[in-house]
């Protein structure tokens, strides 16, 4: 029996193909997840285990890395520690085993909070402004529209860090160095080109008739936009927001250059957590693990919208 190849290519794939594809996905997932798993594991290792060679896969888990991440400590004589009486908490006890006492919280929480404020703040701004700009570019007759769109895109044509020095000087003059506002504005500016272009595609997909019908039915243009256009852009907005957040959350170079204290975000902070005798690898790994969480949660929450959004409206309805 002969089977037409054309018909076959558009039909459901066979069982063997499915198994093969499934196997490849599993292998790929494993390969890409090993570094992540390693980071998570390292967070629960003791400092000697974390740098042991050959690397230890089986080890005795400890919370030392997390305790070190959140606290600052100082080394004391055993006599002094003895004089303090029994430890009050489990982490006190853990630290005293190393002949140290906790002197206060570390700066990690503050840096983490900065990351949250700056990451979500700039994402909100980039998506908000991007949505309005995309709508305008899609619907209104704007002089030099194509040139403006190209100009917006052209800001993506070089690595943002290429303009680091002018921005550094500008920020120093404007007093924006080491402020959350400065970093939010910078990330918004970088993300805006992406969000305008992505969102314009989504607005273009929505037929004008919807708005025209709403306008005739007695709504203003803004009301039609809010009631008719925005709900249909949900998927696009979610996808764009995730892209923007991932950039702002992970950005390292500008954060390193423009922030040092007050407004520093987690990325430049985590790799320089110093322990005794060098980098405190378990604490770095613990910080990295916690740093990964928000983007994972955000992506999981929006995954349905994201899936629809990333197909870029190719399969509407």
């Amino acid at each position: 029996m002969s089977v037409s190849t054309k018909a076959y290519s558009v039909s459901e794939s066979g069982k063997r193909t499915k198994w093969l594809a499934g196997g490849m996905v599993v292998v790929y997932a494993l390969v890409s997840m090993i570094p992540l798993v390693w980071i998570v594991l390292t967070g629960f290792k003791s400092p000697p285990d974390s740098i042991a060679y050959p690397p230890k896969v089986v080890f005795e888990p400890t919370m030392e890395g997390y305790v070190n991440l959140f606290t600052s400590r100082s080394r004391q004589t055993p006599e002094y520690i003895e004089s303090l009486g029994p430890p009050q908490t489990w982490y006190d006890a853990l630290v005293r085993e190393r002949n140290m006492v906790i002197t206060g919280p570390s700066r990690f929480l503050g840096r983490y909070w900065n990351s949250i404020v700056i990451g979500f703040g700039s994402t909100f701004l980039a998506v908000f402004l991007g949505t309005l700009a995309a709508y305008a570019f899609s619907r209104f007759r704007i002089p030099l529209k194509d040139d403006l769109l190209f100009f917006i895109l052209s800001t993506r044509m070089m690595p943002p860090i290429a303009v680091a020095i002018p921005i550094f000087l500008m920020y120093r003059e404007l007093g924006l160095s080491d402020t959350a506002l400065g970093i939010i504005l910078l990330y918004t500016a970088v993300n805006l080109s992406l969000s305008v272009w992505l969102l314009k595609g989504f607005v273009d997909e929505i037929p004008r008739e919807y708005e025209e019908a709403a306008v005739i039915d007695g709504y203003s243009r803004l009301q039609a936009f809010v009631k008719v256009v925005l709900p249909q852009m949900r998927a696009g907005i979610a996808a764009t927001a995730i892209f923007c957040l991932i950039f702002a959350w992970n950005e390292y170079a500008f954060a390193l250059l423009l922030t040092s204290g007050q407004a520093q975000t987690a990325p430049p902070f985590i790799p320089i957590i110093i322990g005794e005798g060098g980098l405190d690898w378990p604490a770095v790994a613990a910080g990295t693990t916690l740093f990964l969480l928000p983007v994972v949660i955000f992506t999981v929450l929006l995954r349905d919208q994201l899936l629809r959004g990333i197909t870029f409206g190719a399969v509407r309805k």
Binding site: Y210, A213, I216, D217, G218, S220, Q223, Q232, K317
Partner: protein, 352 residues
Amino acid sequence: MAEVALHQVTKRFGETTAVSGLSLDIADGEFIVLLGPTGAGKTTTLRLFAGLEQPEEGSVHIAGHEVTCQAPAERDVAFVFQQYSLYPHYTVFENLAFPLRAPGRRGSPEAIRRRVQEIAEMLRIESKLNNRATELSGGEMQRVSIGRALVRQPNLFLMDEPLSSLDAKLREDLRVELKRIQRELGATILYVTHDQLEAMTLADRIGVLAEGRLVQIDDPREVYERPTSVYAAQRLGSPSINLLRPGTLGLENGPGGTETLGVRPEDVVLNGRGVAARVLTLEHLGVESIALLEVAGAGGAPQQVHALLGSQRGVAEGDSVTAAVRPGAVLYFDGEGRRLATGTTGLQERRP
């Protein structure tokens, strides 16, 4: 109180003139159908009434007031689009209630619910009210679209080929329904279509548009029987009117300046006195058949003529027959396609 009019309206899109010097008066409760090929300016005319387009010249009047500069929301018109106008994120009920919830029109929730229910029953979609708009069939979607226009009582209904995306059976049902509803409500409707059957059956008056100009506006019978031009004559009738050179089918004497003769297919009579013809093809449509005949043309070159055969039987493809034109049924056009007056011709006799 819904007198509606365009006065000398011109609308251009860049280089192209979509509507040029168009004047159109619509009386209260009148059903006007605009006919014309693609690009004739039908949709633009509707959009000018709705306020979705601003004219470069001329003025728009609705309910006796000039509304040329008013926003669409202020004009109180309803628009039924060809497609696409149901909001996919709303249910059928919410779609129907949407115009009633507009600011400035906001009724009580109870009144809205009652009105939506009423319209849903009228259009026989009451069982679908809680469905999402995307879960409907094409016919149901279009009925909701029409329903969304009907829920409020606007000054003017604008309908842009509302039935064109439906299958034949449904189109027929909705057409009858629409005419009934229009009579019931006394609604003023401006309706655009390609379908001449819709035009003939729905319209109080048919407007024929050509390149943004209104070439004729008259009641359907008048447009059919006394078209002002070849162009208007071609818009109605299926198969379309036969355009012949003088001398064909034994037709000679027309008014001076006659260049083209127009003969409706139903006015071609077979097997009486007449000229020799040969049946090329025969299409059976049930009640009637369409024959494509070949006759000797004016200069001796063969010319093809459509004939609509009612209950005439006994004709087969390849047959040699005789063909003639019913006396007085010929339309005479001059070199520019304008119809020439024929005084009192047989046309009068044929009118009831």
